[in-house]
Symmetry: C2
Subunit: 331 residues, 2 copies
């Protein structure tokens, strides 16, 4: 476990300043205190008050998502959640789960048995056993990218898909593009549908034509691009907005394989800004979800839900990250 | 100003227990502490730590909305905001503003000059001078029922219109209604459009017919009902969902004036649950926005925004309140 001295070394400040930050002393700035707290959490330091009583126990359940290393999608989400939880004196357990485990243990029972005041669920699929139980759970629960209707104990957080897709399309329009296609992930995913709908609304609001042929579904694997990219290009698309970065990387490979240059012939935009996107050739323009913010938002929203402020959905602002996969439309 | 003894008398506990609650002592329950804090705020008690330094100053700007008395729409919103702000050591000023004032003082300048860390804006109209400035403000700002695109410093809170209207329509369907009309407020209001869209989506999801004739716009005054109710009834509507309670009260009067009984001949549902709705004859079934929760949500969301967690929208769950203005469809 990291010590106070480790934190001091990392930040280049004295151990006594770190102590002040951890203990909420008044004679250091609020900003420095925040930095100390967030670094402590990041380095795995467990503050003394968390080792004693009076702490609220929360659980992060994670499925279908890697989170052990800093370059995996779930890592920063969990880090952000912990960074927000710590100053609020909450203890956070992280627990990977499988559908099999969910089938064995009822959600409410598991939560009560373990004394959890609430949970943040990340990466769950619609058909997971616990998703059905959430319709009636009495346990305060916040979901990342999943929505449960009408249960005041359950809230949903995510990124504002509409604003993200609209940012992407406005950027392409500014570069002269009009024939903009959308390559989506798997049908029947809430997020896929949200981003498709956002595409339709954004295109319409800019008086650009849309039709079904321009918006095929793939699967959430890069290889899905093989089945669709050639047709989109033959229809005259000069830009392809993708449902996520993985799809975009597949589209990029496929375009190059077909002899198209990116961005000279085709512009490509992803969604998420996973670490991979900056390393592609060319590096990918993408709509960023800030995963640290998502984690913090998960904690704040769960706290609201625990305090009977029944959030339905809490959506964060995305940010368009400009790299080299987009350029002026070809003449 | 209320004293500690006043709070003790109101709650039927000792003054020393109130002090413990106000000072965050460990030997009273978290729930009692919360009750003490919320009552203190409600009674106008200003705790000592707020009279000294180290406090973050926030401002609630309010326009087009009364808030001085407990039966006015803004009262509980402001109370909820203060109740959430106090334990977080924030000082809250409430300031009514007019378009004329906004034209004289730039928003950012006013905020900086007065040392405010952020603001919660309630009741503003789209054409207000400050609304345009919010597109580029650098001051953390949260709006009730207004949305500013793409500025990470500005967030929007409100009630989930879709879920509220869908609750209303599902209730009517359970009572046998199929010919359900929607009477909206003024066109070009974001909330009007949201609720109309929610009506269209909800009707479609239940395979019920919608068409433009069934969804007239009025104005946000009760008298607007005179121009539209007779036609809706002549088209065969057996239920009318209204854009807010004031419109619903107009629809109720108009139905009765035309010789229709409520709910025997026509069912009527409002939106908001203002204090008036329980006093109508018959009392109004309506979709409740919990105004204390809205106020608290305003504070939590503003805190997120101040902490660089850029919320786009944070929507609360509505609650359908069943009273006597809805009943089984007439045979």
């Amino acid at each position: 476990m990291a010590t106070i001295q480790d934190i001091a070394n990392r930040l280049g400040i004295s151990a006594s300043t770190v102590s002040k930050g951890l203990n909420g002393a008044n004679d250091i700035s609020e900003q420095l205190r925040q930095t100390v707290l967030e670094t402590a959490v990041e380095m795995g330091y467990t503050p003394r008050q968390m080792r004693t009583k009076g702490i609220r126990k929360l659980c992060v359940f994670i499925e279908n998502m890697s989170y052990q290393n800093a370059d995996q999608f779930g890592y920063d989400i969990i880090l952000g959640f912990k960074q927000a939880a710590y100053p609020a004196r909450c203890d956070v357990n992280v627990m990977p789960v499988t559908p099999e485990f969910q089938a064995l243990e009822k959600y409410d029972t598991y939560m009560l048995k373990n004394g959890y005041a609430g949970a943040f669920l990340v990466g769950f699929a619609l058909q997971d056993p616990w998703m059905e139980q959430l319709a009636t759970t009495t346990i305060p629960t916040t979901l990342f990218d999943n929505y449960i209707r009408k249960n005041p104990n359950v809230s949903y957080i995510g990124t504002d898909s509409y604003e993200g897709i609209d940012d992407a399309i406005e950027h392409l329009i500014a570069l002269g593009h009009k024939k903009i296609a959308m390559f989506s992930g798997s049908a029947h995913s809430m997020i896929t549908e949200q981003r498709r709908l956002a595409y339709i609304e954004s295109m319409a609001s800019h008086n650009l034509e849309v039709n079904e042929k321009w918006m095929p579904y793939g699967y959430y694997v890069a290889a899905a691009a093989k089945d669709h990219v050639a047709e989109l290009l033959s229809l005259g698309a000069t830009a392809i907005v993708c449902g996520n970065d993985l799809l975009a990387s597949g589209v990029l490979d496929e375009c190059k394989g077909l002899g198209y240059k990116v961005p000279e012939d085709v512009s490509i935009i992803g969604f998420d800004d996973i670490p991979l996107s900056a390393k592609l050739d060319p590096p990918l323009t993408t709509v960023r979800q800030d995963r640290i913010e998502l984690g913090k938002c998960g904690f704040y929203t769960l706290s609201s839900t625990i305090n009977h402020v029944s959030v339905s959905k809490n959506l964060l602002r995305p940010q368009l990250i400009l790299r080299e996969s987009t350029g002026p439309v070809r003449k």
